[in-house]
């Protein structure tokens, strides 16, 4: 157990350089670029004295290097700063929106895998058949569908024309969120609260956004699964298992797929970034109150601290996911030692 903890700690430490690079990049460019937050805040017609004063207050008149070092020092203390617009602390602001994004991304991933892996297995088992080509066609086409367009079309068809799903939002008007809100992850919250009606409403609202996200990214997993399954099915242990009279189903799913999952799980880490990116567009389309929309709002206002904070959180999420993937890898494959 201790070895695992040490491994985790070591990995988390490794994420620091990555975050460092990203934050520095954003920090510098934010400040070099034209357009400054103070004018946005006070309006274009504000008097120069006020502008200067506000600038001084926010520390924006110091040289960039100094601002940079200040920020780094701040980060080291775990302080993400205060929003320039609203004076709120950045941390809580982001934390409020984080669960929505996490929930959406998680369910999107679930849909993605639920579609991608079985289709990939089927295509591999019946390679060069009509089904195989059809599935590969699906994978290629779906990859090229813009996430937001998919969302819009689903809204058009299923919300507008068929009226089966809600068009936007996380919850309906009849559900009072504050009744069950604990973690911000509504599916868990409603379950914990025992409120099945609210759970139904939450899932109903999750449906279209999760499907949007999941389907567009499933193409990659179909191809990945298919390729790895083809390799796995050629393996000697597959033939040896069949020779011992093991049923085909067990051979394919118990042996081949399990082995094929290893490289798939590895890819999961990278694909999670694509999921996060897609989530932003999905949030915009479905008016989902997550970090993506927060980022977009604050970008218009040039709210530096929030923008930087959001980027840091995204980087952290990517790192944690990558870490989880590696741990999963070690669990599945006995050859891997942490």
């Amino acid at each position: 157990m201790r070895r695992i903890l040490r491994y985790v700690a070591g990995r988390l430490l490794l994420t620091i350089p990555m975050i460092f690079v990203l934050v520095s990049l954003i920090f510098v460019i934010l400040r070099i670029m034209p357009g400054d937050p103070v004018s946005v805040m006070l309006g274009e017609h504000a008097l120069p004295e006020y502008l200067a004063q506000k600038k001084h207050e926010l520390g924006l008149d110091k040289p960039i290097a100094a601002q940079y070092l200040d920020y780094l020092g701040q980060l080291a203390k775990g302080d993400l700063g205060k929003s320039m617009n609203t004076e709120e602390r950045v941390g809580p602001v982001i934390l409020e929106k984080l669960p929505a994004t996490l929930e959406l991304t998680f369910f999107g991933l679930a849909v993605c895998l639920a579609i991608g892996i079985p289709l990939g297995v089927r295509a591999a088992r019946r390679r060069r058949s009509g089904q195989d080509f059809g599935i590969r066609l699906y994978a290629n086409v779906v990859y090229c569908i813009p996430v937001f367009w998919m969302g819009l079309m689903l809204q058009l068809i299923f919300s507008l024309w068929f009226g089966v799903f809600p068009i936007a939002g996380r919850t309906g008007s009849r559900v009072i969120v504050s009744d069950f809100d604990v973690t911000g992850l509504y599916v868990i919250d409603t379950l914990m609260h025992g409120d099945l009606e609210a759970l139904g409403d939450v899932l109903w609202h999750l449906a279209l956004p999760a499907i949007t996200l999941g389907v567009t990214l499933s193409g990659i997993f179909v191809r990945l699964t298919r390729a790895n399954m083809l390799d796995a099915l050629k393996a000697d242990y597959v033939l040896a298992s069949r020779a011992r009279g093991i049923a085909e189903g067990k051979v394919v799913y118990g042996h081949a797929l399990k082995n094929a999952l290893i490289p798939i799980v590895t890819m999961l880490g990278l694909q999670f970034s694509a999921l996060l990116a897609g989530a932003i567009l999905t949030e915009t389309t479905f008016s989902w109150p997550g970090m993506g929309r927060l980022l977009l709002e604050r970008i218009y206002n040039r709210d530096y601290p929030v923008i930087q904070g959001v980027i840091i959180i995204y980087a952290l999420i990517v790192s944690v996911v990558s870490l989880i993937v590696d741990l999963l890898y070690a669990i599945i494959d006995p050859r891997v030692k942490l």
Partner: protein, 336 residues
Amino acid sequence: MPETAAASILEIDELSIAYPISIGTVRAVDRLSLSVRKGEVLGIVGESGCGKSTLGLSILKLLKAPGRITSGEIRFKGRDGIERDILAMGERELLSLRGRDIAMIFQSPLTSLDPLMSVRKHFIETMRAHESGISEKEAVARAGDILVDLGIDRSRLDEFPYQLSGGMRQRIMIGLGLILNPEILLADEPTTALDVIVEAGFTELLLKLKRQYDLTVLLISHNLGLVAEIADRIAVMYGGRLVELAPVGDIFDSPLHPYTRGLMDCVPNILLDQKELLAMPGSPPDLVDQGPGCPFAPRCPKAMEVCSSKDPALLERPGSGGLARSVACWLYEGEA
């Protein structure tokens, strides 16, 4: 072993296997007929590409597309005395046959075990596939017993393939093959991937197990030396066909088919003062759309005109010890 006492346990009858590829059809096995006697060790030898491995796979109907069995029957007569054509069996029957009546072990122990499963899981899975009600305790006990028989410590059950040596993995494969007490053990190039020292132990082990489990063994190999050590009879394949079948002594002392003779000549003899290594001229036959005639004709030092135009039939000849032998060669046509 007197011929009358041994009954036939497996009969391959006019088996033909083809692979359609983009430039034609490869006839991997061509009208092969062979009778395997109960309790014998039959060696099937030939060079790479002669079709012996394809033959082996087809016995358990493990051939995968695009390979197709185009004709023939493989009749198996087990302990129950009923003779069934394996090639006509349905899925359920096949699953029962594989592993329980006929077991097959393969060339590459390195990759023939699922790297994600422990040894004990392999055994439990195999046993549960055939005796679904078996308890884990009993399964593990039996697995442990057979490991001991094979000279492996029981504690190894909890290890994973990557922790075992090649020789050990091969023995585990054998264990998995024998755990259900099959009647026939089919070994396809079992020692090719192992070093010679391990190989030496293998033949000893195989003979011991054969006695212990009352097995009939089909040993497929391109290694004549290995086969010579334990086989009772040897079947020589070339170009997808059976060219000679004889008791092991006859094959080495008086090979009839020119190809077999060539094989014997090729093996360097440490006792002789050889200046040169002999080899057979020419290269293996192109199996795509073979024309009529003997496949060895282009390379045969004794080739006659008829050899390139008509297929030789399999002729019976008297062998040593009153046993029968057969050879497919025009040289012996017409001899009584």
